[in-house]
C-alpha cells in the first residue's frame, strides 16, 4: 500500500517535471510552437464546416472519392514504417551510432502514425460514429475488410512505438538498465509490424479489382521500397535539425549508414516502377488507362502529368546522388537528395497513387481532382499537429537521452517542498 502511494507520488512528480520541461523553453521554441498551434487552429477552422456541412466542402466527388487526405495517410504510413530501417541495424547488427537515435526515430514513427490516423479521421464522413469500427463495442468487419486490418495494425504499431521509446527513456531517466527480456522481444516484434502496416495499407488498395491501377501484385513491394526511401530521408533531415538546435550528439556516420540503405531502397523502388511500366505499356490493355492518365494524360485531361514527371525526376536525381558514396557522404548533397526524395516519393505515392486509381472511374468518366483550400488547410493542420507532438516528445526525450534530465540530477536539485 505504501509502495503504491509512493509510486503514484513519483508518477505525479514525473508528470509535473516533464510538463515544466515542455512549457519552458527558448524564444525560438515558443515561436515554433505558436506557429504550429496557429496552423492547427486554422486547420480546425476549416475542419468544423467540413463536419457540419459535409464533405461537399472538399473537392472530392463521386468520381474521385479519396483525395489529399488519403494520399497523405498513405505517405505517412510509409514514413512511420521506415523507423524499422533504423531498428534493424541498431538492434540486430548492433551498429552503435544508429542505436543512439533509434529512440528518437521511433518517437518520430509514433508521430507519423498519429498523423496518419488523423488523416483517416478527417476523411471519415461520420467521425461521430468512429466507435462502430472498434472491436467488441462496435462491429468490426474483421477479417474481411482490409480497413479493419489497417486499424488494428496501425494501432498496435502506434502502441509499440510509444511503449518502446518511453520505456527506454524512463529507464534512462532513473538511471536503470532496461530489462532486455521485456524490451528486446517488443523491439523485434516492431520490425514485422512495420512491414505489416505498410503491407496492409498497400493491400487496402491492392484488393480492389474494380481499380486496375491498384490491383497489381507489385503494389505492396513498391510501397515498402518507397517507404524505405522517404522515411529515412525525413529522419536524416530531422536529426540534423535536432543536432543543430539541441544538445543531442549524432555522428555523421549514422546518417551515412542510413543513406546507404536508402540507396538500395531507391534502386528497388525505381526497378519496381519500371516493371510496372513495362507490364502496362507492353501489354497495353484497357488497364493502362490510369497509368496513361498519370504519365501522359487521357482524352486531353492531364492535371497530374507535370506533377508525376517532376516527382519521378526527383526520385531519379536522388538515386544518382545516393548511388555514389562521395555524394551521399557529403552533407550538402545528402540533404539535397533527401529533400528530393521526400517530395518525389510524396508525389509518387500520395496523389500519384491515390488519384489515378479513381481516374477514369469504373464507368470511364474522368474527373480531374485537385484539392481545395479546405483540404489543404486541414492537411497543413494535421502536419502541424504531428510536428508539435514530435517537438514536445523531443523536448522531453532529448534531455533524458543526453542525461540533462534525470532522476539523479533532480534529487540533487530538488526543492525542499517536493518531498512533503
Amino acid at each position: 500500500m505504501q509502495a503504491l502511494r509512493e509510486t503514484l507520488h513519483e508518477t505525479w512528480r514525473f508528470y509535473r517535471k516533464t510538463l515544466t520541461l515542455v512549457l519552458t523553453g527558448t524564444r525560438e521554441y515558443y515561436l515554433w510552437c505558436l506557429l504550429l498551434l496557429s496552423i492547427m487552429f486554422l486547420g480546425l477552422l476549416f475542419y468544423l464546416p467540413q463536419v457540419y456541412t459535409g464533405l461537399i466542402t472538399t473537392n472530392m466527388k463521386d468520381q474521385v472519392v479519396w483525395g489529399l487526405y488519403i494520399a497523405n495517410f498513405t505517405y505517412l504510413v510509409g514514413v512511420a514504417a521506415a523507423a524499422v530501417l533504423l531498428v534493424v541495424p541498431a538492434y540486430i547488427y548492433q551498429f552503435g551510432p544508429i542505436k543512439e537515435i533509434v529512440v528518437l526515430g521511433e518517437l518520430f514513427a509514433a508521430s507519423s502514425i498519429i498523423m496518419a490516423l488523423l488523416f483517416v479521421m478527417v476523411d471519415l464522413g461520420r467521425v461521430d460514429r468512429f466507435w462502430h469500427m472498434l472491436p467488441l463495442i462496435g462491429s468490426m468487419n474483421f477479417p474481411n475488410s482490409l480497413l479493419a486490418w489497417d486499424v488494428i495494425v496501425l494501432n498496435i504499431y502506434l502502441v509499440l512505438n510509444l511503449l518502446i521509446p518511453v520505456y527506454l527513456l524512463v529507464k534512462t531517466y532513473y538511471g536503470k538498465e532496461p530489462n532486455r527480456k521485456f524490451i528486446v522481444p517488443l523491439i523485434l516484434f516492431s520490425i514485422p509490424m512495420a512491414v505489416a502496416i505498410h503491407t496492409v495499407t498497400a493491400f487496402l488498395y491492392n484488393g480492389l479489382p474494380a481499380r486496375p491501377f491498384w490491383n497489381a501484385s507489385i503494389l505492396a513491394p513498391r510501397f515498402l521500397a518507397s517507404a524505405f526511401c522517404s522515411g529515412p530521408a525525413i529522419i536524416i533531415i530531422v536529426f540534423q535539425i535536432l543536432r543543430e538546435y539541441t544538445f543531442i550528439k549524432l555522428e555523421d556516420r549514422a546518417l551515412f549508414k542510413i543513406a546507404e540503405l536508402m540507396a538500395y531502397a531507391m534502386f528497388l523502388n525505381l526497378f519496381l516502377l519500371m516493371s510496372e511500366m513495362f507490364k502496362e505499356y507492353y501489354s497495353n490493355t484497357v488497364h493502362i488507362a490510369s497509368l496513361k492518365y498519370l504519365y501522359e494524360g487521357l482524352h486531353g485531361k492531364n492535371a497530374l502529368v507535370p506533377w508525376i514527371w517532376v516527382g519521378t525526376a526527383m526520385n531519379l536525381i536522388a538515386f544518382v546522388i545516393f548511388l555514389f558514396p562521395a555524394m551521399r557522404k557529403r552533407l550538402s548533397t545528402l540533404n539535397i537528395g533527401c529533400i528530393l526524395i521526400i517530395a518525389g516519393v510524396w508525389i509518387e505515392k500520395g496523389p500519384g497513387l491515390v488519384i489515378p486509381g479513381f481516374v477514369p472511374d469504373p464507368l470511364g468518366e474522368i474527373y480531374e481532382y485537385m484539392p481545395n483550400f479546405t483540404e489543404l488547410f486541414i492537411s497543413f493542420g494535421i502536419w502541424a499537429t504531428g510536428l508539435l507532438i514530435f517537438t514536445l516528445l523531443m523536448k522531453v526525450a532529448i534531455p533524458i537521452a543526453s542525461g540533462e534530465f534525470s532522476h539523479a540530477k533532480y534529487i540533487e536539485e530538488r526543492p525542499a517542498s517536493d518531498w512533503q
Binding site: 461537399i56 529507464k171 480492389l208 488507362a289
Partner: protein
C-alpha cells in the same frame, strides 16, 4: 526495491493516463437529444423487433418535425423464396434518362448541391459495346436515340459477391436474404471504401444533407431504402426495396418509355427475369470480376 517499483509500474501508469486524457478530448461534443439517440443507435441487424418498432416511431416523428411531412417508414423483411433480378434490354434502351429522374423522385435523392443520382446512363459507340473508357455521360442531343450510338444505364448490380460488402470496415452494408445489397445509413461511417471497391459505380455518397423540396418527398419509405438520408453517408439503388417487397415494380421499370427494364424473382421459373435469361442473349457487366451481378443486360435473340 522501491526503485524497481517506480520504474515498471510507472510507465504503465503514464501510458494509461496519456490514453485517458486523449479520449477525454474526443468526448467533447455537442449533445442534443437526437444526437445522443443517433450516437447510441445499434446496428440494424442487431435490433430486436421491439427496438425496430421503437426506432421507426422515432424516425417518423423526427421526419414530421424536420420535413413537415407524415412519413410511413417500413422495415419489411425479405419475402421468403425471393431473389430479385433485373433485366435491361440494350436493343431497346434509347437513353432518354426517364429512369434516372423517376428514381430520384421515388428514392428521395438530393436534387441539387449535391445532385445525387443512382442511375447513370452512358452512351457508347455502336460496335464497341463495353469500351467504357470512351463512354459519354453527358450527351444531350435534341432527340434520342442517335444514329451511331447505343445507351447503357448502369446502377447497383446487386452482386451475389458484392465487393462493397466485403470491404466495409463496420458491416454497415450487407446482402439481404432476397439478394438486395442495402446500407444502414445510421451505421455507415462515411469512409467511402465501398465506393472505391465497386466496379459499377453503384454507390453514391451524400456529400451534404440531401436537398429535396418539401412538397417532393416520397413519404412511403423503407428503413433500408429511400428514407431521408443524412450528410456524409453512402447510399445506393436498392431495386426500390420499398416497392419490390410488396410486389410492386421498381420505379425505373415503370418509368421506362420503351419497356427496356424488366424485373422479377430469379427463383420463380415463371418470372419475367427468368424468361429473359432463358430466351434472350444476356450478359452481365464486368463478368471477369466474378462479382456475379443480378443485373442482366440483354439483346433481342
Amino acid at each position: 526495491m522501491r526503485d524497481k517499483l517506480y520504474t515498471r509500474r510507472e510507465w504503465i501508469r503514464n501510458l494509461c493516463l496519456t490514453a485517458l486524457s486523449g479520449s477525454a478530448i474526443s468526448l467533447i461534443s455537442s449533445c442534443g437529444k437526437e444526437e445522443v439517440e443517433d450516437f447510441l443507435q445499434k446496428h440494424f441487424l442487431e435490433m430486436t423487433r421491439e427496438e425496430k418498432e421503437a426506432l421507426i416511431t422515432r424516425l417518423e416523428a423526427r421526419y414530421l418535425k424536420k420535413y413537415g411531412r407524415k412519413f410511413k417508414v417500413s422495415a419489411q423483411e425479405a419475402i421468403p423464396d425471393t431473389l430479385w433480378g433485373y433485366g435491361l434490354d440494350l436493343s431497346r434502351c434509347i437513353g432518354c434518362r426517364r429512369c434516372v429522374y423517376a428514381c430520384v423522385e421515388e428514392n428521395n435523392s438530393s436534387r441539387l448541391k449535391p445532385q445525387s443520382q443512382w442511375i447513370r446512363v452512358i452512351r457508347l459507340k455502336k460496335g464497341s459495346l463495353v469500351d467504357l473508357e470512351n463512354s459519354e455521360h453527358y450527351y444531350n442531343p435534341d432527340l434520342v436515340p442517335e444514329k451511331d450510338f447505343l445507351y447503357m444505364p448502369v446502377q447497383c448490380q446487386h452482386c451475389e459477391n458484392p465487393p462493397c460488402v466485403k470491404v466495409c470496415p463496420v458491416h454497415a452494408t450487407w446482402k439481404e436474404p432476397d439478394g438486395l445489397v442495402v446500407v444502414d445509413y445510421n451505421w455507415c461511417i462515411g469512409c467511402r471504401y465501398c465506393i472505391a471497391a465497386c466496379p459499377y459505380r453503384g454507390r453514391i455518397f451524400n456529400w451534404a444533407e440531401p436537398n429535396v423540396p418539401s412538397d417532393q418527398w416520397n413519404t412511403s419509405v423503407h428503413y433500408l431504402g429511400n428514407r431521408p438520408r443524412m450528410r456524409n453517408v453512402v447510399d445506393k439503388c436498392t431495386y426500390c426495396i420499398q416497392r419490390v417487397r410488396v410486389g410492386r415494380y421498381p420505379a425505373c421499370v415503370e418509368a421506362c418509355p420503351t419497356g427496356s427494364r424488366k424485373f422479377g424473382n430469379l427463383l420463380d421459373p415463371q418470372s419475367e427475369i427468368r424468361y429473359v435469361i432463358e430466351n434472350k442473349r444476356t450478359f452481365r457487366l464486368k463478368e471477369d470480376l466474378r462479382t456475379e451481378p443480378k443485373f442482366y443486360y440483354f439483346f433481342e435473340a
